[in-house]
Subunit: 110 residues, 2 copies
C-alpha cells in the first residue's frame, strides 16, 4: 500500500464525506476507515490528515470534543451546520469529477 499521491486535492472532501456518514469520528479512526474502504489502496498520512482537520475546524466546518478512552486521548470531529452544507457541495463536485475521470479512462486509440 503506497501512500497515494492521487489523494492530493480530495482529502478534504473525503473527510467531509466520511463525516456525513458517521455522526462523529476521530483522526485515527478516519485513517483506518479510508484504509478499509479502499481495500488498503489509500493510506492517509498523519502529516496530511491533522492539518486538514485543523483547517476544517478553523473554517467552522467541524466541531470537536475530546474524550479519554483506555487512558488515551481522542479528539472527535463532527460536521457543524455549515459543514453539512459544504460537505454536500464538495461531495457533489467529487462525484462529477469521478465521472469525468472515468470518461478519460475509457478512451480508445485514435
Amino acid at each position: 500500500m503506497a501512500t497515494n499521491q492521487l489523494i492530493k486535492g480530495s482529502l478534504t472532501t473525503i473527510i467531509l464525506q466520511l463525516l456525513s456518514h458517521h455522526s462523529q469520528m476521530y483522526g485515527y479512526e478516519i485513517t483506518q476507515k479510508v484504509k478499509e474502504l479502499s481495500l488498503g489502496e489509500i493510506k492517509v498520512t498523519e502529516g496530511a490528515l491533522y492539518p486538514a482537520l485543523h483547517k476544517l475546524e478553523a473554517e467552522g466546518l467541524l466541531d470537536t470534543y475530546t474524550e479519554i478512552v483506555d487512558n488515551r486521548l481522542r479528539k472527535y470531529y463532527k460536521l457543524s451546520q455549515k459543514g453539512k452544507g459544504v460537505a454536500k457541495e464538495k461531495v457533489s463536485e467529487l462525484e462529477k469529477f469521478i465521472v469525468s475521470m472515468q470518461a478519460m479512462l475509457k478512451l480508445k486509440m485514435v
Copy 2:
C-alpha cells in the same frame, strides 16, 4: 466551469493517459480534449499544463517535435518507450484510485 482543484495530483496521469490513446498531441490540444471529455467540468490551466509537460519531457517520458501550422508554432508530445511503461503503471493506479473513491462515495449513514 471552475478550474477544478481536484485535479491536483492526477494531471500527470491524465496527460499520460491521453497520450496513450493519441500517437501525438500538442499542449493546447490537450486542454481542449480534457474540456471535451469532461463535458466542460475540468479546465486544465496553462500554468499547470506546460510545467507538467516539461517535467515529463525532462524525465524522459515524452519525446517532442515542433511544427508550424497556419503560421503558428505547435509543440507535439508523444510517449517515449519509457513513457509507455510509466503510463500503464500510472493509469492503473488511477483506475484503482477511482474504484476506492467510489467505495467512499457509496457510504450509508452509520
